[in-house]
Amino acid sequence: MKRAFVWLIPHPFVTLLLAIVWTFLQNEVSAGMVVFGIILGIIISRGTSIWWPNTPKSFRLDKMITYSVMVIWDILVANIQVAWVVLTVPNAKLKPAWIVVPLELRQPEAITVLAGTITLTPGTVSADLSDEGHSLLVHVLHTDDPDAVRDDIVNRYQSRLKEIFI
């Protein structure tokens, strides 16, 4: 029974997400459309599971929600800071820097979320991963202290993601 369930729903979160997206696309909640969304979620995640063989072992949804709220707040604050830099700092005084973030995360999903978070926060763009995936290259627009930015990323985002993707 359990094996049949795993065969039918290899990625439960993908199924759930597709059902929610389908319901949102309809713009109204009706039982028929929710059921159809769940059917679509099962068919699509089953059909594409061959390209996605590894599932994340465990995932803490509650901590992910608090993490998302924190990231949205950081995006708002950083936006205002970067807008100030864009408008006031002339090109000659701009101090861009490369920083190297040591990665303790090993799962591809977790590294993707970290890199996406860094890019969405204005002022930092994640540029590249080292060839064996032990460090992340980040470009900073304007900073006096690159080490402080690196420590901020490690302490603020990476430590939280380590608790989300156990």
Binding site: F24, N27, V82, A83, P96, A115, G116, D131, H134
Partner: protein, 128 residues
């Protein structure tokens, strides 16, 4: 002061904030001189600029009584896809040498963008 007037003001404020951030993003794109610095400007437009314009659209749809939540989906898809395009542009900049060469990573050999086989590297230079 009924709900409709408050809603209209909220829509106007959201539109204003969104437009200001979009304008700042465009100024940044035009003003900076290095390709990697320029890349920072659109990330701002992609988050707060678009987010506020979509919030205005959502509030408007609530005020006129036709609830619409499509904007949440647009925001979600943008937040998922925007970092990928930024990452690709950064990789192209590194690959073409348009920016300062990044410091080599402490543990591994090199960055994955620069990790091309030797024969491909010579082909690249020959084709340019």
């Amino acid at each position: 002061m009924n709900a409709e007037i408050i809603g209209t003001y909220a829509v106007a404020v959201c539109l204003l904030i969104g437009s200001v951030f979009t304008l700042v993003g465009v100024i940044g794109l035009l003003k900076f001189n290095a390709p990697m610095s320029r890349l920072h400007a659109p990330t701002k437009v992609g988050t707060v600029g678009i987010g506020m314009l979509l919030a205005a659209s959502m509030i408007h749809s609530f005020v006129i009584g036709q609830m619409s939540l499509h904007e949440l989906l647009i925001m979600g898809f943008l937040f998922v896809t925007a970092p990928i395009s930024a990452n690709f542009i950064a990789k192209v900049n590194i690959h073409r040498g348009d920016c300062e060469t990044p410091p080599s990573p402490p543990q591994d050999d090199t960055w994955s963008t620069l990790n091309t086989p030797q024969e491909d590297r010579t082909n690249d230079i020959a084709s340019q």
